[in-house]
């Protein structure tokens, strides 16, 4: 009877995981989905404890409760206190904890199952994968954290890593094959797995960390699933597999979004490409943003100002920008255009374009009128403008544009700059704005990326 109810609860918990993940993939339901899955998790944990058959000493209960309470408090506080920008590294940290948990289970359970080759396979697989996930996640965390700054690469690290990976397989297979119960072999395998995790992540550049974390995440899922197989525990199995498969797909999707082939992801060598874009320039590094992330930022803003420049004209993006305005206005976002007196290449260049796409005259604001408004603005979207938003005009007396009044886009909460490259504008000078903290670059032809942005916005509804 008890066991029946236990199964029902496990089943329900598995379903909450599926539903939760499903809901997480839609902006509107995401929050509830997370809560739902959390609810299922709590139920599963309680079930595991309550429905256990056979006598268990109070000490053990005490230890379990203690660990749970401590884990809850620490986890909760860390998660609550972290700054928005540090969240990805925290995810990596937590992921590592999960991996470690799986690895420890393997370490302990090994003895009980010596000889049963199926169980040994499952245990070793869970332990190795958990360990890799743990050590890898810790490296990823340290990198995001800034504790490890550069991509550290051993010579021929690709071949080395592949060799280690093969050895891990072979060693594990050998242990199962011989049925040896030797602690030594177990721990050597454990350490080797930890080592592989470290070597796996070390050479990878910072820009690729999200992909790596997602991959390690699906590893931990797999480790959990092996645990489920071992205990014949359905909720672990389903939860683990679910995360394993969803995580793998997510990794692929992210790779695709970053234009990086899967092969490079698995066999090291990542990060080389984007890093050069992402961290170039004498003045520091620029932050990139994609149309989809920008879509959310815009969708959830109250006030957006669009700053058009010559690039809008070159790209002939006037019709798309109008479409963007229409969609945002429909979603209740206030949109205006800040027209700099010398934006473009002729007086009134922007007016001609925007009139063509029927932007209302009332929405076009002159520089003096709009400059005070930037500070109440959530997002400024600079489209193909450069000189007219260059702070050098205010700060740098040696600059050829010094003394020219500019649009104070820096005062806004966030500033997105769309252009095709880091090239200079008409005046031929670098623009410090692009390197500022609040600035994010949206690279690409204005018409192309704004069309993508509009598509993403439509998908958000």
């Amino acid at each position: 009877m008890q066991i029946d109810i236990q199964h029902i609860i496990y089943l329900l918990a598995s379903v909450t995981f599926i539903l939760g993940l499903k809901m997480l993939s839609n902006a509107k339901t995401a929050k509830n989905g997370n809560l739902l899955a959390a609810g299922g998790m709590v139920a599963a944990i309680i079930t595991a404890i309550v429905f256990h058959e056979g006598a268990v000493s109070a000490v053990i209960y005490g230890l379990i409760f203690g660990a749970i309470v401590l884990g809850t408090v620490v986890g909760w506080l860390t998660a609550k206190r972290v700054q928005m920008t540090k969240m990805p590294e925290l995810v990596s940290l937590f992921n590592g904890m999960g991996g470690a948990c799986a690895a420890l289970i393997g370490l302990v359970e090994f003895h009980h199952n010596v000889g049963d080759s199926m169980s040994m396979t499952v245990i070793l697989a869970g332990m190795v994968i958990g360990s890799v996930s743990f050590s890898g996640s810790m490296i990823a965390w340290a990198k995001l954290n800034g504790k490890i700054k550069n991509a550290i690469r051993l010579p021929k690290y690709n071949i080395l890593n592949t060799l280690i990976l093969i050895s891990l397989f072979a060693y594990g297979a050998w242990i199962v094959w011989t049925g040896t119960g030797s602690e030594l072999h177990l721990y050597v395998l454990f350490v080797a797995a930890l080592g592989y995790g470290i070597l796996f992540v070390l050479p990878i550049g910072g820009a690729d960390m999200p992909v790596v974390i997602s991959l390690l995440n699906s590893f931990t899922g797999l480790a959990a699933a092996f645990g489920g197989f071992l205990y014949g525990n359905q909720v672990m199995l389903t939860g683990g597999i679910l995360v394993g498969s969803a995580g793998t797909l997510l990794t692929l999707v992210m790779c695709k979004a970053m234009n990086r082939p899967l092969f490079n992801v698995i066999f090291g060598a990542f990060g080389a490409g984007t890093e050069s874009v992402g961290e170039s320039g004498p003045q520091g590094s620029v932050r990139e943003v994609g149309p989809s992330d920008l879509a959310v930022q815009l969708n959830y803003s109250k006030k957006v100002i669009i700053v058009p420049g010559y690039g809008l004209a070159v790209a002939q993006a006037q019709h798309v920008i109008k479409e963007l305005e229409t969609i945002l206005e429909e979603r209740g976002v206030e949109v205006t255009y800040a027209i700099h007196p010398v934006a473009g290449r002729m007086p009134g260049h922007m007016n001609v374009l925007l009139a063509e796409s029927n932007v209302e005259y009332d929405k076009l604001k002159e520089m003096e009128d709009i400059n005070p408004e930037f500070s109440q603005t959530d997002v400024v979207l600079v489209v193909g403008a450069n000189d007219v938003v260059n702070p050098a005009a205010k700060n740098d007396p040696s600059s050829p544009i010094y003394g020219m009044p500019i649009l104070d886009v820096e005062n806004a909460k966030a500033c997105i700059v769309n252009k095709r490259s880091m090239n200079a504008g008409y005046a031929g000078i670098e623009n410090e704005l692009f390197f500022r903290d609040k600035t994010q670059m949206l690279f690409g032809d204005a018409k192309k990326v704004l069309t993508e942005l509009v598509t993403e916005l439509k998908a958000l509804d």
Binding site: P341, V342, P347, V352, Y361, E366
Partner: protein, 360 residues
């Protein structure tokens, strides 16, 4: 059959009734085409072009009219023209038979068959022969160009280093063929356009071209077959109220309001002109029929209180090339409707024939 095209003699007229492009079509209908020399020169069609197209040149109007079966021109025949015409000839031109019955009478007494182009019934299948439409359309465009040329301001909004130029405000009275083209043209140039008309369906039409429509909620308008027939005094008062704010802000006003078979209504009184901005311009397209403002004078520019009132009675003559092309196409389509197997059909069941044949 011999078809002769006369050179227009009216003052300021630059158009020609038939352009070289139409000649092959006319020949296909069985006409031998004669053109009075220099008939097209003001519209940029040379005698050589006509000859190349297959016409022959007549050195004078008498030579052209003599022995012609059909005589074609745009404006009503002058007394001299009438004197040259003889019995059995067919004259195609505007005849204004309701307004100027003396012309029709003279033709009748001479035994000349008069086909009046301005009497074309405004039915769907006659649209391609309707010179009023084709010419009003061009006039609507030209009136805006003329207004833009007379205005001390530019139309579009421009944000420049030397400050922002606000867009010009254009107000259009009468959303018929000319009014719609005027809306489109002013809008293209970047102006803020408002328009008003007595016919309520004009709202949607004006809006379809980007103008704001000023609706006058008044009684006393009689609309017949799509044309404003009669507009009461109360309505005009109501209209003044509605438009006065726009009028006082307008940089350019274009009036096109006509009432069929009557003098055009006065839509802007002297007081209203006096409330307009210094430097603003009115282009009165109805001036040939009396004008839509209290002060308009045909073919004159009146300046009152800083407001320029430009009255141009013949706008199409200012775009002679295109205007002649359309006219010529109207006329050749008309002729191909009237003629079959090298002779006129005189189908007296046909609405178009009945409508245009004003002297038999």
């Amino acid at each position: 059959m011999k078809l002769s095209v006369l050179k227009e003699t009216d003052k300021g007229e630059t158009r020609v009734a038939i352009v070289p492009k139409s000649i092959s079509k006319l020949k296909g209908l069985g006409f031998e085409v004669v053109i009075e020399t220099n008939a097209g020169s003001n519209a940029a069609f040379t005698d050589e072009e006509y000859i190349k197209a297959g016409a022959t040149i007549a050195t004078s109007s008498s030579e052209a009219i003599d022995s012609a079966d059909v005589v074609v021109k745009i404006n009503p025949p002058t007394p001299e023209d009438i004197a040259l015409l003889s019995e059995g000839q067919i004259l195609i031109s505007q005849l204004f038979h309701l307004l100027r019955p003396e012309i029709t009478d003279a033709l009748k007494s001479k035994g000349v068959k008069g086909l009046s182009l301005d009497a074309m019934p405004r039915i769907s299948r006659a649209q391609s022969m309707d010179i009023l439409s084709s010419q009003s359309n061009l006039s609507g465009y030209k009136a805006v160009i003329c207004g833009a040329d007379n205005l001390g301001k530019i139309f579009p909004m421009l944000t420049t280093a030397a400050g922002t130029i606000t867009p010009a405000r254009v107000l259009i009275f009468g959303v018929g063929v000319a009014g719609l083209q005027a809306i489109a043209t002013a809008k293209r140039l970047g102006a803020i356009v408002e328009a008003t008309d007595v016919r309520p369906e004009c709202k949607e039409q004006a809006e379809s071209l980007g103008a704001k429509f000023l609706t006058v909620e008044g009684e006393g308008v009689l609309v017949e077959g799509g044309y404003a027939k009669e507009v009461s005094q109360e309505y005009l008062l109501k209209q003044k109220e509605v438009v006065n704010k726009s009028l006082s802000q307008a940089d350019l006003v274009i009036t096109t309001a006509l009432v069929q078979g009557a003098k055009s209504p006065i839509l802007i009184s002297q007081e209203q002109i006096e409330m307009m901005k210094n430097g603003s311009v009115i282009v009165d397209m109805a001036v040939a029929k009396g004008g839509n403002t209290a002060l308009s004078k045909a073919d004159e520019t009146v300046i009152h209180n800083g407001v320029k009132i430009v009255g141009i009675s013949n706008f199409p003559a200012q775009i002679p090339t295109n205007a002649s092309e359309l006219l010529s196409r109207n006329i050749d389509t008309f002729l191909s409707h009237m003629v079959s197997e090298d002779s006129f059909k005189w189908d007296m069941e046909d609405e178009i024939t009945i409508g245009t044949l004003v002297t038999k």
